[in-house]
């Protein structure tokens, strides 16, 4: 399967430099937010839905301020963010390690391929109740869910990229006295990095979805749990606060990821451009 995340900037104007470029950039980022806010306000006023099911943005903002002031919002976000980063980090380590081995070592590839190709297209969330039974209600089951959603895109991208490393580059390194394990770390890993990072970006979204969904289904804390509580206690404005916040967290993490990626790939032909 060819995994392809959204290129960060296809809009040519965004590559422009200088104040004009910055203004265009700001507009491009602001426009979808403004669009959503305006549509939200308009629908809320239209009377299509009640103020209970669709509170206007202003009301949600007030709730967010109140939740921020009493500290619940910060606590919930910190818990969720920690889980997202932990599950993404674990998925990166596991996915890249196994992916390099599967991409370069025939025996490992043959051993794991049937398992990986079975698990990849399955809806991992189906095992979430089982994960709760196994790991309990706390952080472990959320991290396991985020991990399960994040690891496969990373693993598959790593296998593909590692198996396509230019053989002459590997030979050059071998000829310059690199051990077999050294080739995996010093040559295959950096050469496969562009592909790995493409998969990792998809994996990051998987980790965010996995953790948040897990918190929504069964949890004791976190942003998703706050939303589920809002649903059960009919505090609808709280639900909107949680959704907006998880969207913001997703957006910021994705942007940070792209920044790190641009740094790591400064050497590559596509440079910091997205692809």
């Amino acid at each position: 399967m060819v995994a392809r995340p959204v290129p960060a900037s296809l809009v040519d104007a965004r590559r422009r430099r200088g104040p004009a470029g910055a203004a265009v950039k700001a507009f491009v980022y602001a426009y979808p937010v403004v669009l959503v806010l305006v549509a939200w306000e308009a629908v809320a006023r239209s009377g299509l839905f009640t103020a209970f099911t669709l509170p206007p943005p202003g009301r949600v903002w007030e709730r967010a301020r109140a939740m921020w002031d009493d500290g619940t919002l910060l606590d919930a976000s910190t818990v969720t963010l920690g889980r997202i980063l932990l599950s993404f980090g674990l998925a990166l380590v596991a996915g890249v390690t196994l992916g390099l081995l599967m991409g370069r070592v025939r025996a490992v590839r043959l051993m794991f391929r049937p398992v990986v190709s079975f698990l990849f297209p399955t809806p991992k969330v189906a095992i979430y109740p089982a994960l709760v039974i196994l790991f309990g209600l706390g952080t472990a089951s959320k991290v396991a869910m985020g991990f399960a959603e994040a690891v496969f895109p990373i693993l598959l991208a790593t296998i593909a990229a590692a198996s396509r490393v230019e053989p002459r580059m590997v030979w050059s390194a071998a000829g310059l006295g690199t051990s077999r394990a050294g080739i995996l770390v010093r040559v295959v890993l950096p050469a496969a990095l562009p592909g790995i990072l493409t998969g990792a970006r998809i994996g990051l979204v998987g980790a965010i979805s996995g953790v948040f969904v897990a918190e929504l289904i069964v949890a004791a804390d976190g942003l998703g749990h706050a939303m589920a509580i809002g649903y059960r206690t009919l505090a609808t404005a709280d639900m909107y606060v949680a959704v907006v916040l998880i969207c913001a967290i997703g957006f910021v993490l994705d942007r940070l990821f792209l920044l790190v990626r641009a740094r790591l790939l400064a050497w590559s032909p596509e440079g910091s451009a997205d692809g």
Binding site: R4, T53, P114, I133
Partner: protein, 265 residues
């Protein structure tokens, strides 16, 4: 650690010996699943041994309640998936061919890409109730991004001379899109659709686990609430198998229906 001789010299090795490691991999996994609970490495009440889960799978498959929940979920999924293809493919193709549409849609795509669409489930339930509508919308939202992006990229990569020659031969703008751009973009669109299948099944499952009123997710959750661990694992295994089969059937169908297609889907 034995790294393969690079360049794949000798990758043509095959025969029965090549079947051994895959079988060994699967066998190892199942063995661990079987033995770990029996030796008490994990509590058998949390993870029942594989053989017991295998036996329970029969009970799940013959349960008429399970069948009807699967049918209900499949209907909602099919409806949402079809809608997403009908909206997403034309949108992506038009984006590639029209600057205006591209500039309007692209920022929205970029912003919404990292957003977990399933997070909207409970909001949609507030707005549209817990019935079919909100779940179909979730499926559409989950499918839309991969399909639009794949169609956009596929149509954007169509050689301009192909479009020019088609226009030169006297096709209208819309006709050219449908007859030339769409088929040329098909390989990419099909792989986007494959991604969408995976993502949307996840989204529907997650939504039904949250809504807990009907559907496979609700079925699964009922047994979780009853503390019937064995049934939970067996149901999860069946759902996993369904996801896998759906993907496999899709790939087969595309290969058979479009034999001219090259490369991976």
């Amino acid at each position: 650690m034995a790294t393969e001789p690079a360049g794949g010299a000798g990758t043509a090795r095959g025969g029965p010996a090549a079947l051994l490691p895959p079988a060994a991999g699967v066998a190892l996994l199942l063995l661990v699943w079987e033995v770990a609970p029996r030796l008490g490495l994990v509590r058998p009440t949390s993870v029942p041994p594989f053989s017991e889960v295998l036996g329970e799978i029969g009970a799940v498959l013959t349960d008429p309640a399970f069948g009807s929940e699967v049918a209900g979920s499949a209907y909602r999924w099919g409806l949402g998936f079809a809608l997403a293809v009908l909206i997403g493919v034309p949108l992506g193709v038009v984006m590639a061919r029209s600057r205006l549409v591209r500039h309007a849609v692209e920022p929205v795509l970029t912003m919404s890409y990292p957003v977990p669409k399933v997070a909207l489930t409970l909001i949609l339930v507030l707005l549209f109730g817990a019935g079919t509508t909100s779940r179909v919308i979730i499926v559409v939202l989950a499918c839309l991004i991969p399909i639009v992006i794949a169609s956009f990229h596929g149509a954007g990569a169509v050689e301009p001379w192909l479009v020019w020659s088609a226009r030169g031969l006297g096709g209208g703008r819309i006709g050219t899109l449908a007859r030339v751009v769409l088929p040329a973009a098909l390989p990419q669109i099909l792989s986007g659709v494959r991604m969408a299948i995976g993502v949307s099944i996840f989204a529907l499952m997650a939504a039904e686990l949250m809504i807990r009123q009907s559907g496979i997710g609700a079925y699964l959750f009922t047994y979780y609430d009853h503390g019937d661990t064995l049934r939970v694992w067996a149901t999860a295994a069946v759902i996993a198998a369904i996801g896998f089969l759906l993907d496999a059937v899709y790939v087969r169908a595309v290969r058979r229906g479009l034999p001219w297609l090259e490369g991976e889907i």
